[in-house]
């Protein structure tokens, strides 16, 4: 595919923002400033950024727990995101939801369930609404390779297929569900894509460490979906760089294999491409790192300075 320089730069910037966000999450957690558990998305950013490069105004999104940075990509300010993560009043749920629930409906984000897969069907519901109103948009729903084995995923796929709903199921196959290797949980090599055929859906497997490869596969599938031909499955193969949560020393896997995979770095690949094509120079790249980091530091300072909700507010938002 031919790409404009603007497109490549936009993709790179989004990728870098996700990378630095996920890294900042790890660093901030290490400083003891985050009360819950975080699940670092380092290594998997291209799956989300490449897929979402096909998004259009009016689409709906169901994120996963693995790349919280997506919320920022879709519109949630860093201040709001870090406030929720740090349990402050200025977060989207006032700190009642936390790191897994950084979400704002005004950006068409459907929310996330920490009961894995129980939220997969939401995208179908949002797609129903689009169909109901005759709107030509679509819904994206992200889930992991481990989650791919839960029943609600299969029910949601069948429902979307039988109702021809405009949904893209995106399986972030980072090869582990906590410690369980994908081969221990699925009888097929591709727990996302290989299941699509059972529901009459097209699918693709993309190199999840290459944002352009993901984008191209996502583009083909979303073209199919946007043409009104029903749902599809995209699987992105990558590798979870860190433990499932911080503190997980990953005794269940081979460090040498991890190091090999970490060389397949989606951000480094894009930087090389942009430098080779002379679209950007190293100084400009360094400058972007600095700017994004500054933005995040300011957002974290804002969140730290923000008050928490009080016990009197504990029931707020429970009922309309």
């Amino acid at each position: 595919m031919e790409y404009s320089n603007e497109f490549l730069m936009k993709l790179y910037e989004e990728l870098l923002r996700c990378r630095l966000f996920e890294k900042k999450l790890v660093d901030t957690y290490a400083l003891g400033k985050i009360p819950g558990h975080i699940h670092s998305g380092l290594g998997g950013e291209a799956c989300y950024v490449g897929t979402l490069a096909t998004r259009q105004q009016g689409d709906y999104f169901k994120n996963s727990h693995r790349c919280i940075a997506v919320a920022n990509l879709l519109g949630v300010s860093l201040e709001t995101a870090f406030s929720e993560i740090m349990a402050k009043r200025t977060g989207n749920a006032g700190g009642r939801g936390g790191v897994n629930h950084v979400s704002q409906l005004k950006y068409n984000m459907l929310g996330f369930s920490a009961t894995l897969a129980c939220d997969i069907g939401l995208a179908g519901g949002a797609a129903m609404r689009l169909q109901y109103d005759g709107i030509d948009n679509m819904a994206y729903t992200f889930y992991g390779d481990g989650t791919a084995n839960r029943g609600p995923v299969h029910e949601a796929m069948n429902l979307a297929a039988v109702w021809k709903l405009p949904v893209l199921f995106v399986c972030d196959n980072n090869q582990f569900g906590i410690s369980t290797h994908v081969s221990q949980g699925s009888s097929v090599p591709n727990p996302g894509a290989d299941r699509a055929g059972a529901y009459g859906m097209p699918s693709e497997v993309a190199d999840g460490t290459d944002v352009l490869a993901v984008y191209e596969a996502a583009k083909r599938l979303t073209d199919h979906i946007r043409a009104g031909k029903g749902p599809a499955v995209l699987e992105c193969k990558n590798y979870r760089w860190r433990g499932h949560f911080e503190g997980d020393q990953t005794p269940y896997r081979d460090k040498a294999v991890t190091e090999e995979w970490m060389k397949k770095d989606s951000v480094a690949k894009m930087e090389k491409l942009l430098l080779d094509k002379k679209i950007i120079d190293q100084a400009a790249i360094d400058n972007m790192y600095q700017q994004i980091d500054d933005e995040m530091e300011r957002a974290i300072a804002f969140a730290e300075a923000s008050p928490a909700i009080t016990p009197e507010e504990i029931y707020d938002n429970l009922y309309v």
Partner: protein, 322 residues
């Protein structure tokens, strides 16, 4: 006009769907077939396949879809054929639907209703006879309604459909054929307002669903013996009308809870504890629970009857309170 409970439920949906084109219904066998009790008969013809849809047997998926549709601007009123099968989508209801707005922020409203046929119905056995209100009372974020008359069913369902909170709406199978007076003109019944189905001065029975009728029968029998029974139907369990209970107890000073579900951790357990904590001064004796036996409901009809409270058992338990 005199209508059946089933007709009242159907009419509530039809009237609301005529009023608001954001409302749609879906569930198993509700379209051409008109649901297994005939409640949605004619709705496909009237509203079309866009608003009246059969789903596959995929409770997790269609409850999830109801949620996604509700978030994004529709008002789904979905049917889970039997309340027993709500457990198949329990995590979706208990974790997601109930907690969504709390966990994600105030803009995440879920105006959706989950209707279910519930309760015993002559040999339906252990997996088609359950009364699960207490499970859903236990998940903050849900509203729970369990009407006992055609009038209440219609008014409460219309309110449920208009409400911006998610509602679990239970319809007792044995009540579907019962008839009641329903006005021609439009009305709704607010949630959290109990109804005194019979006034009395010696003892208050709090009864729900099918048990309201049995409590009234018991009250009739006891009246002949000089015991005056007040029958209070909360109609909605969440929110629960505590003030109505307090007012009744300030007159009778004795309380009984009658429910069709089995006793352990049931609705009665919660209400008895609540009264003893909050209304102890009004009570002249312990709150009495009359409930089903702690067994899966047996298939044998005689044993099924034996397991569930009837008017005689209720009356006998009341006599012991004096």
């Amino acid at each position: 006009m005199l209508v059946t409970f089933a007709q009242a439920v159907g009419d509530a949906m039809r009237e609301e769907m005529r009023r608001d084109d954001r409302i749609l219904i879906f569930g198993e066998d509700i379209a051409e077939f008109g649901n297994i009790f005939g409640i949605t008969r004619g709705m496909l013809e009237e509203f079309g396949s866009k608003r009246v849809r059969n789903t596959p047997i995929s409770e997790m998926a269609f409850i999830g879809a109801a949620m996604g549709a509700a978030e994004t601007g529709l008002r789904p009123c979905v049917e889970l054929m039997y309340s027993d099968f709500s457990l198949v989508a329990f995590a979706e209801i208990y974790h997601c639907i109930a907690k969504w707005r709390y966990m994600h922020g105030p803009e995440y409203k879920l105006p959706l209703v989950i209707r279910s046929a519930m309760g015993s119905s002559f040999g339906a056995t252990g997996e088609h006879s359950n009364c699960l209100e207490s499970l859903y009372m236990h998940s903050p974020g849900l509203l729970v309604a369990s009407p006992s008359t055609a009038y209440d069913a219609k008014g409460l369902l219309k309110e449920a459909i208009r409400n911006d909170n998610p509602v679990m709406f239970f319809e007792h199978k044995q009540l579907y054929k019962t008839k009641g007076e329903v006005p021609e003109e439009e009305y709704t019944i607010p949630f959290g307002v109990a109804d005194i189905k019979r006034e009395g001065s010696d003892v208050t029975i709090i009864a729900i669903g099918l048990m309201v009728g049995r409590a009234l029968e018991a009250a009739e029998a006891l009246a002949k013996e000089g015991i005056s029974v007040e029958v209070l139907d909360p109609r909605t369990l969440v929110p629960f009308d505590k003030e109505a209970v307090r007012k009744s107890l300030s007159k009778t000073h004795r309380a009984m809870v009658v429910e069709e579900s089995n006793k352990t951790s049931g609705v009665g357990a919660e209400l008895a504890a609540m009264m003893q904590e909050e209304m102890y001064d009004e009570l002249d004796g312990p709150v009495v629970r009359v409930a089903a036996l702690d067994v899966p409901l047996p298939y044998n009809i005689e044993l099924e009857k034996y397991a569930i409270p009837d008017a005689e058992q209720i009356a006998a338990a009341i006599r012991k309170m004096f």
